[in-house]
């Protein structure tokens, strides 16, 4: 649409964004509150952050969560990218309907069902529950998100570039690494980040599939939240929000810069072509 926004549009946007951001802002502000009460402002203090780093249970959980998120996001990115290539480039094959069903269903599947079913699988095969069962569970649902992100990028770029490479004798594997991967890389990276944050956030699936010694940060936060709102939890949340914000903003700036460079390179290529065409 190319018409400017009206007053009504601006007001609804401002209210919408206020609704989205005010609760988070309030949470951040009260993490710096001197008082233990989270509603009465008693002056600026960072003491809750210090308290946090002395809380060993919380620190352990944070470390477990970071490891789970890193491992599961990395494997999910590989599997999700393969799934996206299968869906976009391989046309019809036996069992395609089932496959695309299995890729889309986890996106909307209630977490309680995914968690329960995976736990019952691990129990049925007598697999010791702990770090790896949480990792497997997280890979399973986040690879589908990666697949969708990578898929939309694969659909939008011209397959003839790949075909040209293969016509010139480049083997499919090499074509993928030399041509396809560099083009879809921004989508692969944002897929990885999405998988990482999904894993970082997950409470329900982790609660079902975890075992001794693998308590994740959301599980820790959840058990404390049930006891009430505390400034330490506000502080943990603020740190998590800051990390995610920095990650997302950096990623989007990098992608934008790449896009600009690509356009510049394309323009240069067109200019270089012109004299020959004339």
């Amino acid at each position: 649409m190319n018409r400017g926004p009206s007053w009504f549009n601006i007001t609804s946007m401002v209210m919408g964004f206020a609704f989205l951001y005010l609760p988070i802002l309030i949470l951040i502000i009260f993490s710096f509150n001197e008082s233990r009460l989270v509603t009465v402002w008693a002056g600026f203090s960072t003491k809750w952050y210090g308290e946090l780093f002395r809380n060993e249970g919380l620190m352990d959980a944070a470390w477990v969560t970071a490891r789970v998120a890193f491992v599961s996001a990395s494997i999910a990115t590989v599997l999700g990218t393969l799934a996206a290539i299968t869906l976009v480039r391989f046309g019809r094959f036996h069992g395609r309907t089932l496959f695309s069903g299995m890729v889309y269903a986890p996106l909307v599947m209630p977490e309680v069902i995914t968690g329960l079913s995976l736990l019952l699988l691990f129990v049925a095969v007598n697999f010791d529950r702990g770090f790896w069962t949480v990792v497997i569970a997280h890979i399973t649902f986040s690879m589908c998100f990666v697949a969708v992100v990578v898929q939309s990028r694969l659909v939008s770029f011209d397959a003839s570039v790949e075909e040209a490479a293969m016509d010139l004798g480049c083997p499919p594997g090499k074509t993928f690494f030399v041509i396809t991967l560099p083009i879809i890389l921004p989508a692969v990276i944002s897929g990885w980040m999405l998988a990482f944050t999904l894993s970082l956030d997950d409470l329900v699936i982790a609660s079902f599939t975890t075992g001794p010694g693998a308590t994740t940060l959301p599980m820790k936060i959840y058990s404390q939240v049930r006891l009430g709102v505390t400034p330490e939890i506000n502080a943990v949340c603020t740190i998590l929000i800051a990390l995610v914000t920095i990650g997302v903003v950096t990623a989007s700036i990098v992608t934008k810069r790449q896009e600009i460079e690509r356009k510049r390179a394309e323009a240069a290529a067109v200019r270089a072509d012109e004299p020959q065409q004339v």
Partner: protein, 306 residues
């Protein structure tokens, strides 16, 4: 030779994610189905297996004769479960409608904003989506609780007298607020991508021909944004039905939702067969919206691919 290798490579690319999803997504459902037909037992795991695949065909036939529908019969006898399903569907439906009403004007405003703002606005919608669900729900507890921020603000501006407090936390209203808040980005993003593609000259033409802007909206904008509306509603409705965190943290004892019931059945009552039966029924309830959602996704994909 090279052809042969290509085929093998292709098979490998398909096989790896395919097998993974088969083993960790489809097979677990079959296990849930199986356990939902077995009896509770005081042991670990706390159920007596109905049948094991090791016994072959005869074992399977014998097992089918002994299949226990007790868990399903139990679900119909205690009206807690039926009320949970119905109230989950109702809460998810109401929340979806509210999310659409809140999200549409926001997406519309974004689509009409000057193009150099759009990337930033889009980012502002996506950012909360990346922040933890749990954190965002937790943020509302501090606001909605009786001695919370909302009470303080309302008392300060004089809407509430100093000895009055808001009673929102632990009610269904708080659950609505939580769902609308948490799922708003899921609604705004598909709406925005549908509205952004809309050709503004259509609206100009309609207005030039004397069509009232509101009518032009109903006749042109809304129908053209329908794919976004459908995708957004499914993305909010389906997960909201099985939501656990929001009703557990914001809702009260009178807020029945099936995700909460399943969780309690599993972790507090340790009744695995009944919680499996609850999961099977929940899946059956959701299968229609999930299939419709997939169809819509596939159609959108095909349109995009041209």
């Amino acid at each position: 030779m090279a052809q042969h290798q290509d085929r093998n490579g292709r098979r490998l690319v398909i096989a790896v994610p395919y097998l993974w999803l088969l083993v960790f997504f489809l097979v677990p459902f079959l296990i849930v189905l199986k356990i939902s037909f077995s009896q509770i037992a005081v042991a670990m795991p706390p159920y007596t297996p109905t049948f094991s695949l090791g016994e072959g065909w005869n074992g399977l036939v014998a097992a089918f004769k002994e299949l226990s529908f007790d868990n399903y019969i139990w679900l119909t006898e205690d009206d807690l479960y039926i009320r949970s399903y119905l109230s989950s569907l109702w809460i998810a439906f109401v929340s979806t409608v509210i999310t659409l009403l809140v999200g549409y004007p926001v997406a519309y405003g974004m689509a009409r904003a000057p193009s150099h703002w759009r990337a930033t606005l889009l980012m502002l919608v996506i950012l909360p989506f990346w922040t933890s669900f749990l954190i965002r729900v937790y943020a509302w507890i501090g606001i909605l609780k009786p001695e919370g921020l909302l009470t303080v603000v309302l008392q300060t501006i004089g809407i509430l007298s100093p000895d009055e407090q808001v009673r929102v936390l632990n009610t269904t209203t708080a659950v609505y607020i939580g769902i609308v808040y948490s799922y708003l980005p899921f609604m705004v993003l598909p709406l925005y991508s549908a509205l952004e593609k809309l050709d503004g000259s259509l609206l100009e033409a309609a207005e030039d021909l004397g069509c009232h802007p509101l009518k032009a909206f109903w006749v042109i904008t809304f129908p053209l944004s329908l794919p976004g509306v459908i995708a957004g509603c499914f993305l909010v409705f389906i997960p909201a039905v099985g939501e656990f965190v929001i009703p557990d943290l914001l809702g009260g004892s009178e807020t029945l939702m099936i995700g909460k019931t399943l969780w309690a059945e599993f972790f507090s009552n340790r009744d695995w067969p009944v919680s499996s039966a609850v999961a099977v029924i929940l899946l059956l309830v959701l299968i229609l919206p999930i299939v419709l959602f997939q169809r819509a996704q596939q159609r959108a994909q095909e349109r995009e691919a041209g």
